[in-house]
């Protein structure tokens, strides 16, 4: 029975405990190679000095070990502070609007019949099938002064306000308004999907219990649905806020050049100014700004998990 023997040998090899380590290690190796290592390089670069060489930076020279001048410049030149502020304010407004629009949609998705639910979920995901760039260009067309969209808005505006406020067209392009509008449009699915996943798991008998104890439907929402959906709100909020604050394409295409967002600053420093150390310093600072909310989130999540364990 040679065949059976090799079979068991293969099985022994296949079932070896060591494989579990391989399985666990693979994503870690991936992360180290393609996230941690580049990140370390970027951090290192942020302490280098700009030189007219290729690559355009070097260590040593005037600042033998660490050149902290770039970090100092972040605070000296108010271009950076303003760009960070614009990014965070824009991303914050976009996140809030996504929540405002996405929450009712996610809640609605949980309340329709399963057949409708699949169709509507599909519609939420459908925009991803078209190029993101194409969709931003479509918005450029819509917001232009001669578009039907702009004309529609202008007509409604003129109809609503006194005549001396009347406008020929509404200037939307190259404003922060355009940036927020397109970001809300682009990131809405990232708010809806985690919220839907959270709301869908909520036990509807809790709503009935609340109603049974005297709460009207809106009260039920405030007392039961809203507090229990906080994890979904946080997850969706982070998924929108983090990419929105680092957004490059939207502010470049529809935003105002006088109010740049930080993503555009990083891109300009790297490409146009060829100041790689400065670009790296801006990137590291942005990452730190974004890591703080994530750490807060995991901290609170961990706490509530601990509490649950204590009870068990």
């Amino acid at each position: 029975m040679a065949g059976a023997h090799t079979d068991t040998a293969f099985q022994r090899w296949f079932n070896r405990k060591g494989w579990i380590n391989v399985t666990i290690a693979t994503p870690y190796v991936w992360l180290v190679l393609f996230f941690l290592l580049p990140f370390v390089i970027v951090i290192a670069m942020s302490f280098a000095t700009r030189t007219p060489t290729a690559p355009p930076f070097s260590f040593g020279g005037e600042h033998p070990v660490l050149n902290t001048a770039h970090y100092a410049r972040l605070f000296q030149d108010d271009l950076y502070v303003r760009a960070y502020l614009t990014s965070i304010v824009n991303a914050g407004i976009a996140t809030f609007l996504c929540l405002l629009i996405g929450y009712p949609m996610a809640l609605g998705l949980t309340r329709v019949s399963p057949a409708w639910r699949n169709i509507l979920l599909m519609l939420v995901i459908l925009p991803f099938w078209t190029s993101f760039l194409l969709r931003v260009y479509a918005w450029i067309g819509l917001m232009g002064t001669n578009s039907w969209f702009n004309k529609l808005l202008t007509t409604s505006w003129n109809w609503l306000v006194p005549t001396d406020w009347a406008l020929r067209s509404i200037p939307m392009m190259n404003t922060n308004f355009a940036v927020v509008l397109v970001m809300v449009y682009s990131y809405l699915p990232f708010m809806i999907l985690p919220l839907y996943a959270n709301l869908e798991k909520l036990d509807r008998t809790l709503d009935e219990a609340s109603m049974d104890l005297g709460s009207r439907p809106f009260r039920v929402f405030l007392d039961i649905t809203l507090p229990l959906s906080v994890p979904g709100i946080i997850a969706g909020g982070l998924l929108v806020f983090i990419p929105a604050s680092g957004e490059l394409i939207i502010p470049s295409l529809v935003g105002s050049a006088r109010q740049p967002m930080i993503g555009r600053v990083i891109s300009d420093e790297f490409a146009s100014a060829r100041d790689w150390p400065m670009a790296s310093a801006v990137s590291v600072a942005l990452l730190m700004l974004l890591v703080v909310p994530i750490m807060l989130y995991t901290h609170f999540e961990g706490k509530s998990h601990e509490k649950r364990k204590e009870g068990a």
């Binding site: 036990d203 008998t205 809790l206 009935e208 219990a209 609340s210 109603m211 049974d212 104890l213 005297g214 709460s215 009207r216 007392d223 039961i224 507090p227 229990l228 509490k307 649950r308 204590e310 009870g311 068990a312």
Partner: protein, 393 residues
């Protein structure tokens, strides 16, 4: 079986302060019913969940709706709570028409099968939840919450979250929360189903005690016949959206009105029979499967030649090795027996091939060789005419 009606004095003495209106169930006294379900029908599309149900329930009763899954008992409960609007018919509580009121305006509270405790609130907050909308001072509210937690013996657990207490404690929090608003009617959906057997028996009596203290009218939905029989003053057996029989546990067990009710509650032997002669207190029916004639207590409206079902409960059949001169005695052979300790269940094969269940209490302490009958033994079984139930459908 618990005695449903207790003395008024005893009840008044145990009434807690939170329930000043606690009263005695007055099943004996004829007064307008406290709860009236009037020709209620509930259809979902083409499916009829509840079909023309009419029920009257007195104040202070524990009334059970008993039936298998899908019999409409839970739908009927949800109609009472206001979660489902009846397609036809009306619901009255304490003389008021409730049919068009939403759940949050009904003097009715429900204890959910899953308990539906709010996971993000402490036990105290859960119990206090319904009081938010009541016209009370914060002190009164706190007092009521304390009283409710005392009632269910959870005073110490007010600050815990639902996931930090046991299943039995959760059940009691659900009960306290549902009683906190002093509802006129408390609905309990399978209140004991999620508990293990030992806890269930204990909680059953606790539930009855709390009902007695508060005097609240209870409607309990259950699929467990034992639970329904011990818990309730009266019960309704439901099948396919219809009420098959309403009565006390004794009524329903000893005097079932249909094959369904007889078969649903307890075990029973059915035989096809034909009426032979009527008249007087008893009636004779021909039972081919038993191979003879059975004398049974008469029921009204029988005519000779009419086909009828004969039903006999296994514990009402007497088993012996010798033929006694008793009415309704038939021969058979022990096909198998199961010894349960306090009693044994025999399967007796009749000459016709029909197998009959006989339950016999092991009143005497006997060894294996001295019991009433053994495998393959030829035996005689007999039952009293009063034990023979005649069913028209």
């Amino acid at each position: 079986m618990p005695e449903p009606a207790r003395s008024a004095d005893q009840r008044a003495a145990t009434t807690v302060a939170a329930f000043p209106g606690a009263q005695v169930p007055q099943t004996a006294v004829k007064e307008p019913p406290f709860i009236r379900i009037d020709h209620v029908t509930k259809r979902f599309g083409t499916f009829t969940a509840v079909s023309d149900v009419t029920l009257e329930i007195q104040k202070g009763e524990i009334f059970s709706l008993l039936g298998g899954s899908g019999c409409g008992k839970t739908t009927l409960l949800r109609v009472l709570a206001g979660f489902e609007a009846p397609t036809e018919g009306r619901v009255f509580i304490d003389g008021q028409d409730m049919t068009d009121l939403p759940p949050y305006e009904r003097p009715v509270n429900m204890m959910f099968q899953s308990y539906a405790l709010f996971p993000h609130m402490t036990v105290e907050k859960n119990v206090a939840y319904g009081l938010k909308h009541e016209d009370m001072t914060p002190a009164q509210r706190a007092e009521r919450v304390r009283e409710m937690l005392d009632l269910v013996q959870l005073t110490e657990f007010g600050h815990r979250k639902p996931h930090q207490i046991s299943g039995g404690q959760r059940q009691r929090v659900a009960l306290a929360r549902a009683l906190a608003k002093q509802p006129k009617l408390l609905l309990l959906d399978e209140p004991l189903a999620a508990l293990d057997k030992k806890l269930r028996e204990h909680t059953q009596f606790e539930l009855m005690e709390i009902q007695e203290k508060t005097g609240t009218t209870f409607i309990v939905v259950t699929h467990d016949q034992e639970e329904a029989m011990t818990l309730s003053s009266r019960l309704a057996v439901m099948d396919k959206g219809r009420i098959m029989q309403i009565g006390t546990a004794t009524d329903v067990y000893e005097y079932p009105n249909s094959r369904f009710v007889a078969g649903f509650i307890g075990s029973i032997n059915f035989f096809e029979a034909k009426v032979r002669a009527t008249g007087g207190e008893t009636v004779e029916v021909e039972v081919p499967d038993l191979g003879g004639i059975v004398t049974a207590r008469a029921i009204p409206g029988l005519a000779p030649g009419q086909p009828i079902t004969l039903a006999v409960r296994p514990e009402k059949i007497h088993l012996s090795r010798m033929r006694h001169d008793l009415p309704n005695t038939f021969p058979g052979t022990v096909q198998s027996l199961a010894y349960f300790g306090k009693d044994s269940l025999y399967r007796i094969a009749l000459p016709s091939g029909h197998v009959m269940l006989v339950n016999s209490v092991n009143a005497r302490r006997t060894g294996e060789h001295e019991r009433v009958a053994d495998w393959e033994d030829a035996v005689f079984l007999s039952f009293d005419p009063a034990a023979a139930i005649l069913l028209k459908d």
